[in-house]
Symmetry: C2
Subunit: 180 residues, 2 copies
């Protein structure tokens, strides 16, 4: 059971793209701070602009719709297509369950027989990537953080973030492309 | 001078909120204006904030990932859960093809055998809903517009918008719920 729980969290993390939040300053709230990278949830991240979206399916384990949002520094860099991302870049990856929408299907049934609509269900987790080339020099300039219900994942979870993102090294460790 | 600067900013602000997206005034560019409702593509809509996202599957016809973005008026209303939406509300629905990501699947294959990642492909179309309770009184206060490659769909297409949205009348004709 414990292993399944870990896998579920890991799934979210791996597929989660490049994630991070802001380095904290001042007195830290341990319970709200992600281990290793010392990142807390950046205020207002839900209002950041859309980078892209995706769907993750891990049979029997995860079925998600996911959005990647970026702060202004991130969005500017994505639009210019420049890597590495500048210090201050913050990217949020929000993951929800994917659920069928009966309401939408009813509307679609008339004009489009067999049509299926899937919408976001409940929140699963939120991940952040925060660029600070000095502070996070050992991990490609990125700090990583994962939160579920506002609480950070454990140390073991955060230890695998960077390794999983390494295949995207030529894109500065981010999997997400800006959606046209 | 200071006052002039202020006025310029104010004009720009008002124009940006009220005019830019919606009904055109002055000489209209027929080719860029959606029929019936007279709506042109609102500048900057891609940078609006995320309302929600969904997936649409119409077997043999459409396989899409879709995002709904809103201008500031729309986002405020969604967060407050108030209907009807106030005049000036603008909602964009951006639709992309859904495509498998081999890059992501490779990364996922190790820790999560069988995992599949789907990302946005190419743009399909962009649709807008613009609230103007007076101008669009006959269609629930909403003007509708559909664009593909920057060009509006034809009159026949726009004639069905309102009818299709009528089942969502109790939510002011919008299908989308704000994603938590």
């Amino acid at each position: 059971m414990k292993r399944i729980a870990f896998l579920l969290v890991a799934v979210a993390t791996v597929a989660g793209i490049v994630v991070s939040a802001a380095p904290t300053s001042g007195p830290a709230n341990e319970e709200a701070t992600a281990p290793i990278y010392g990142i807390t949830i950046p205020p207002g991240y839900r209002d950041w602009k859309l980078i892209a979206m995706d769907q993750l399916l891990v049979p029997g384990k995860a079925d998600q719709l996911r959005a990647q949002l970026g702060n202004d520094i991130a969005i500017k860099a994505f639009k210019e297509g420049k890597v590495p991302f500048p210090d201050g870049t913050m990217i949020a990856a929000i993951h929800w369950t994917r659920v069928p929408s009966e309401d939408n299907d009813k509307v679609l049934a008339g004009p489009f027989p067999g049509a299926q609509s899937f919408v976001v269900g409940s929140p699963v987790n939120v991940q952040f990537m925060v660029e600070d080339s000095e502070k996070y020099a050992a991990t490609g300039g990125w700090g990583f953080a994962d939160f579920t219900d506002g609480k950070p994942g454990d140390k073991a979870l955060h230890e695998i973030c960077f390794a999983c993102h390494t295949p995207a090294k030529d894109r500065d460790y981010g999997f997400t492309h800006y959606a046209p």
